[in-house]
């Protein structure tokens, strides 16, 4: 495999050909915040938290979807990027009802972690406080759209790993909503296999287990599943 050499934050690093800037950065312990990205799933490029500066390009690039190219000079951390990332998290917190103290995902929430890591203790934007209905029709899990950040990890894991494609997205703009099947109650879904992968990859408390006091999310099983399949670990 051929190797690409590039500069990230002044450091010369090498990368496997075809790797994304995010892959390379993580490999070299350079932290880039992400939200919609999840190892093992296709890239969505929508949260815009992983935007980085690439020398020679006037536009910021999403590290998850931009391939590392020979000689590339990347900056992953700057005053400007920090400001933008902070604003994006603030926008998310104002968009729906993210009240950590009454959330089942409190202290196990990636949105909360992002806010904490940015030292965000105050939201300057008008809280939109939408009144979105919850769907508790499934025997084991609940979807609470008020805590959804529309990262579509659930949609992707259901489609790409489980192969059920129960979840998808409906509507546009602020009316965008994750739905099961043709916007039917989750409990009535004919396609849902009740595998629970969506619940485990959800970065917030939007998908959670009934009766749980705190969720225990471990989204890293996705990479294991992928690896096991690719290496045919379960084939006889």
């Amino acid at each position: 495999m051929s190797v690409t050499t590039l500069t990230i934050n002044g450091r010369l690093v090498s990368a496997a050909e075809g790797a994304s800037i995010l892959d390379v950065a993580r490999e070299h312990d350079i932290h880039i915040p992400t939200l919609c990205h999840l190892d093992g799933l296709s890239e969505h490029g929508a949260c815009r938290l992983c935007l980085v500066e690439v020398a020679g390009s006037s536009k910021l690039q999403a590290a998850c979807m931009t391939k590392a190219v020979e000689g590339m000079v990347v900056t992953t951390d700057s005053e400007r990027l920090r400001t933008y990332r902070r604003q994006i998290v603030e926008l998310l917190l104002a968009e729906r009802n993210h009240v950590c103290s009454v959330c089942v995902a409190n202290r196990a929430c990636e949105l909360q972690d992002l806010a904490v890591s940015m030292g965000l203790h105050h939201v300057r934007y008008e809280p939109q406080a939408p009144q979105l209905a919850m769907d508790a029709s499934h025997p084991r899990w609940i979807i609470d759209h008020n805590r959804c950040v529309l990262c579509t990890r659930c949609v992707r894991v259901c489609d790409e790993i489980e192969g059920a494609h129960t979840w998808d997205v409906m509507g546009r703009g602020r009316q965008t909503l994750v739905i099961s099947d043709m916007n039917e109650p989750w409990g009535d879904s004919a396609s849902c296999t009740s595998c629970g992968k969506c619940v485990r990859v959800c970065p917030t408390g939007a998908l959670f287990e009934k009766g749980a006091v705190a969720t225990n999310k471990d989204p890293h099983f996705v990479t294991y599943l992928r690896m096991a399949r690719e290496q045919k670990l379960w084939n006889r």
Partner: protein, 551 residues
């Protein structure tokens, strides 16, 4: 059908035309139809039959005649007289017009002055067939030298020569961004592999813009011909026209045109008896503004949810179903046949250094002559508004011109002498856009205008990326507060920060340009914002300035 047969059709049409005493053209674009154009056409046809002038006088429905506010419009081209045009035509007047044509003396009332600048200052390339060609008859298009460019390309040129000709013309994308068309074509032409696609973006969505609709309704064959030439140049065999569902008339006429062209072997297999095959299918949009963005458009044609994806890869490398795909706007394709016939260098003599040819604008808002105009690039804005547009009605004064729709900006009076080209408009914070030009007078509030466009972007954001989805909501929230007199200077700071965020971090063009109306009005009309914030006054008297009146 072979070249000789096409020539025979042209000869027949010319002979028939020479034998006719007069041609009466009724504007059959949506604007005139909405004011009773089809009743006028029926009355004309009936009157011609009644007066036994069937062989002498031909009634035809044509593309947009331009002066939309005075519709229905009827144009009379008699053998032995100068052309005449009538405005606000009623079925009764239609009968009088036919009597006039037969008797040799046209009615004197409701005549349009064809010597006014609205008609004389225009330069028609894209809209040259309006008034001449019946949108529903391919024979008319052929008689107007239609498909001659395709014939020339297929019989005399090699694909790379076609690309070179388009590059030489200096034509730039008419959809708004102004990417050099020749460069785009050569990228797709160079891309490897079979199964390339040619796509026509007819998802015109800017509020107040109707250029593409008029071209599709009035001259659908011109677009088909442009696409076929493009397909030959880049090596594609399949084309799609992505047209918005709100344009039923355009869709009907496109379908008719495609069927006619296929029947004459101008589309489909072995076009004009050459080895070239090209098929065009229509895909109808379902009312999402974002589907005018090329990656969202591709997604929609593929049958998926119409959301954009980051570029690169650009559609020229990996577009429809991962194949190299050429996407151009309606007006861009409509320019192709004239460029091939006249030569790229001839086309390039028109316009400015970096913006060649003409641009079609839809004049709307507080202007005397609302309608469709085509002007050479580089014409000062003042000429478009005051000479061609007839100025501002009711003795009011010009305040701003909005170009580029929700992605564009407002141009104040100080910049009226600005030449209209891509760079000049971008230089003052607006864009050429697809050609919507909304004129505003002192009764328009710029904060309210910004709020209106932000509401549009908020509602049309696809919801995929956070800055656009949530940022437009918050910007609209702040602008709403300003129009209600409840905003303070802190809000202004937040607005400016958000404008930068949304511009710099959004995934696609919709979000990246959504803040343009805010930034351009803030730049040119800051004192008006300050009046709302500091003095709690709306100088134009538009905003409610109190919280109860929810707009």
């Amino acid at each position: 059908m072979i070249v000789d047969d096409i020539a025979a059709v042209r000869d027949r049409e010319h002979a028939a035309r020479a034998a006719q005493k007069a041609r009466i053209a009724v504007c059959s674009a949506a604007g005139c139809l909405s004011t009773g154009g089809s009743a006028v056409k029926d009355a004309l046809t009936a009157a011609v039959a009644e007066q036994g002038a069937g062989t002498d006088v031909r009634v035809l429905g044509t593309g947009c005649l331009g002066l939309c506010h005075a519709g229905p419009l009827v144009r009379v081209d008699a053998q032995d007289a100068a052309p005449a045009m009538f405005e606000h035509v009623t079925p009764a007047l239609a009968v009088a017009i036919v009597s006039g044509v037969v008797g040799g003396a046209l009615p004197a009332e409701q005549r349009c002055d064809l010597t006014q600048p609205f008609f004389t200052r225009q330069h028609r390339i894209v809209t040259s067939d309006a008034g001449v060609v019946d949108a529903e008859r391919i024979e008319d298009y052929l008689a107007a030298n239609g498909y001659a460019a395709l014939e020339k390309v297929l019989t005399e040129m090699r694909p790379e020569e076609v690309v070179r000709e388009i590059s030489a013309s200096g034509l730039r994308g008419r959809g708004g961004a102004g990417y050099p068309t020749g460069l785009k074509w050569s990228t797709v032409a160079k891309a490897q592999g079979p199964g390339k696609f040619v796509v026509c973006n007819a998802d015109e969505g800017d509020p107040g813009a109707f250029m593409d609709r008029s071209v599709l309704e009035g001259d659908p064959h011109r677009v088909l011909e442009g696409m076929a030439i493009a397909a030959f140049a880049v090596g594609a065999e399949q084309g799609y026209i992505y047209v918005r569902g709100e344009y039923p008339l355009a869709i009907t006429r496109l379908k008719t045109a495609i069927r006619q062209a296929e029947r004459m072997q101008l589309l489909g297999h072995r076009i004009l008896d050459t080895q070239f095959n090209f098929r065009i299918d229509i895909r109808i949009g379902a009312g999402a503004f974002v589907c005018g963005e090329e990656t969202a458009l591709i997604s929609s044609i593929e049958g998926k949810r119409g959301t954009p994806r980051p570029r690169p890869p650009f559609p020229a490398e990996a577009g429809l179903w991962g194949r190299p795909t050429l996407i151009n706007n309606v007006e861009t394709y409509a320019n192709i046949a004239p460029i091939i016939l006249a030569g790229g260098s001839r086309f390039a003599t028109l316009g400015t250094e970096h913006s060649k040819g003409t641009k079609v604008f839809a004049l709307a808002g507080r202007i005397v002559n609302t309608g469709l105009v085509e002007v050479p690039m580089g014409i000062p804005l003042r000429e478009i508004i005051y000479d061609i547009g007839g100025g501002i009605p009711d003795g009011r004064t010009f305040k701003a011109a909005q170009t580029g729709g929700p992605s564009g900006g407002c141009i104040p009076a100080a910049h009226l002498d600005l030449p209209v080209d891509y760079e000049a408009l971008a230089g003052i914070g607006s864009i050429m856009g697809s050609g919507g030009l909304i004129v505003m007078d002192e009764t328009s509030c710029m904060v309210d205008v910004a709020r209106y466009f932000m509401e549009f972007c908020r509602d049309e954001s696809c919801g995929k990326c956070i800055p656009c989805r949530a940022g437009t909501v918050q910007m609209h929230e702040i602008l709403l507060k300003m129009t209600r007199g409840t905003a303070d200077e802190r809000d202004l700071g937040l607005l400016e920060q958000l404008a930068e965020l949304v511009t710099r971090t959004s995934l696609c063009g919709l979000g990246q340009t959504a803040a343009n109306p805010v930034m351009s009005t803030l730049h040119h009309f800051r004192e008006e914002y300050m009046a709302h914030i500091r003095d709690k006054v709306c100088p134009a008297g538009v905003c409610p300035m109190h919280a109860e009146d929810r707009p």
